[in-house]
């Protein structure tokens, strides 16, 4: 690529708190170029390039150096982060992934569907009479947390404890990590102790829950070590909680924009699966997936240097007019796959669970919460990084 084209490529300031992945600036940049320069590396904007770079083996998962970037080089958080599956590569990653995969098998999810449905209905019962609720705290959060409790085989009443630790660990993803470190590490310690008790219990009394499956996981005579087990359990709790909570809130936001599609979902609950895919295509909680170049290489004429951070913009790719035609949001349309679960070696491990639990919840919500509208002032995380509602007051007609 010529120097002119390089300097002509658009610039997006991803670090600006008012930056939005859904802004006109991103749309215009996507028309001008497949990539943009940013305040921190590159942003990739179009479907085909995001799809290819997501799986390109010259790139590693991009968040591994996050603690070090924020001045945290040692201690429990740095250890947890660097040993977690998300941040491992190559043989270390593959060994751990293979030991963990069977616990997430799609074969094991079917039996949980009635529990997901019962949970969704119980939570809706809690506010249905009122005709209004804070969807974030009264549905999305307890649903996400209690699904995790079901998976772990712990009493569902314990969800608040798990959710509080998980929220505190979430502070580690903010730029104030260093100031919040004591709180993050206290939460990590709490979750580790909880995980240790669970592991010890399942070693003695194995069941068919997911912790037992991880404890018993074996391949070629190898097992997960105790440290791997506790690190992984904390990652799974943390990774499954906020993402599902946020994605459910974002789903409701999208459906409020397209009320005909909400009515359609209520009439045709079998569209629940399509609803999850379509929402994650146009309004994903993970607004970008990061990668880091392992070597110098050229891609479509662009020189990419080793160490460059590359943001793969999932919503921009998912709404790219080069691959998406027709109505902007349509549960009955045939669509290309979205990137809401990332892709490649680091493709979300829990996606079968997430797809199943959300595809059960959404049609039940559509049937019982008719014509939902915003009822007050909703507050949202920035439309960048991992996004979602903080407070989502809605009113609805009872169905």
């Amino acid at each position: 690529m010529s120097t002119d084209q390089l300097t002509d490529a658009p610039f997006l300031n991803l670090a600006d708190p008012t930056f939005s992945v859904q802004s006109d600036a991103v749309r215009q940049a996507r028309e001008a170029s497949w990539f943009a320069h940013t305040s921190y590396g590159l942003a990739v904007l179009r479907y085909d390039e995001v799809s290819k770079l997501m799986k390109d083996r010259r790139l590693r998962q991009g968040s591994w150096a996050w603690p070090a970037h924020n001045g945290v080089n040692e201690g429990p958080f740095a250890h947890w982060w660097s040993s977690a599956l998300l941040n491992l590569e190559g043989d270390d990653h593959h060994r751990l992934r293979r030991l963990m995969n069977p616990a997430f098998s799609p074969k094991l999810i079917g039996g949980l569907v009635p529990r997901f449905q019962a949970l969704a209905n119980e939570l809706i019962d809690g506010f249905h009479e009122r005709g209004r609720c804070d969807f974030a705290s009264e549905f999305a959060e307890p649903y996400a947390a209690r699904v995790i409790a079901i998976m772990l085989g712990i009493p569902e009443g314990e969800w608040k404890k798990i959710a509080a630790w998980s929220n505190d660990i979430g502070l580690a993803l903010g730029v104030t990590l260093k100031q919040d470190l004591a709180k993050v590490e206290a939460a990590l310690e709490g979750l580790y102790e909880y995980a240790d008790e669970l592991i010890a219990d399942r070693r003695k009394n194995p069941g068919d829950d997911f912790v037992s499956r991880l404890v018993l996981a074996e391949r070629d005579g190898e097992h997960l070590s105790h440290d791997e087990l506790r690190v992984s359990l904390v990652l799974l709790i943390f990774g499954g909680m906020d993402t599902t909570r946020n994605q459910l809130g974002l789903a409701l936001q999208t459906f409020m924009k397209y009320p005909d599609q909400w009515k359609l979902l209520a009439e045709r609950p079998e569209l629940g699966k399509a609803a999850v895919e379509e929402v994650m295509r146009v309004n994903p909680t993970v607004t970008w997936v990061t990668r880091e170049a392992l070597e110098d290489f050229e891609y479509q004429g662009l020189e990419i240097k080793a160490g460059t951070t590359i943001h793969l913009l999932s919503e921009s790719a998912g709404t790219d007019p080069r691959v998406i035609e027709g109505e902007p949001f349509d549960l009955t349309a045939e669509r290309v796959p979205h990137f809401g679960f990332g892709g490649g070696a680091h493709h979300c491990l829990g996606h079968f669970v997430a797809r199943s639990d959300m595809s059960e919840a959404l049609p039940l919500l559509a049937q019982r919460l008719k014509n939902p509208t915003i009822d007050g002032i909703a507050t949202w995380l920035p439309l960048s990084g991992n996004t979602g509602p903080i407070f989502l007051p809605i009113a609805f007609e009872r169905g």
């Binding site: 799809s51 290819k52 799986k55 390109d56 083996r57 593959h94 992934r97 293979r98 995969n101 069977p102 997430f104 098998s105 799609p106 074969k107 796959p337 679960f341 892709g343 490649g344 070696a345 493709h347 996606h351």
Partner: protein
């Protein structure tokens, strides 16, 4: 055993190549290549690959 990958569904995530590297590999362009008739000794690995495929595009022993 007989293995078939639906290339219309395959997204080249490469999870199968992690699960059963002797049967599934990613080529230099990141595209999946695989052995359509692997030895029966690979059955556990191939079943695991089919199970973990994010788009469920791997099919075994169809007749």
């Amino acid at each position: 055993m007989d293995v078939r990958v639906d290339y219309g569904m395959c997204q080249d995530h490469g999870q199968c190549a992690i699960a059963a590297p002797k049967v599934f590999q990613m080529d230099d362009d990141g595209k999946l290549v695989y052995d359509k008739h692997p030895d029966d000794s690979q059955r556990d690995e191939v079943e695991e690959a089919a199970d973990v495929c994010p788009v469920q595009a791997i099919f075994l022993d169809e007749s």
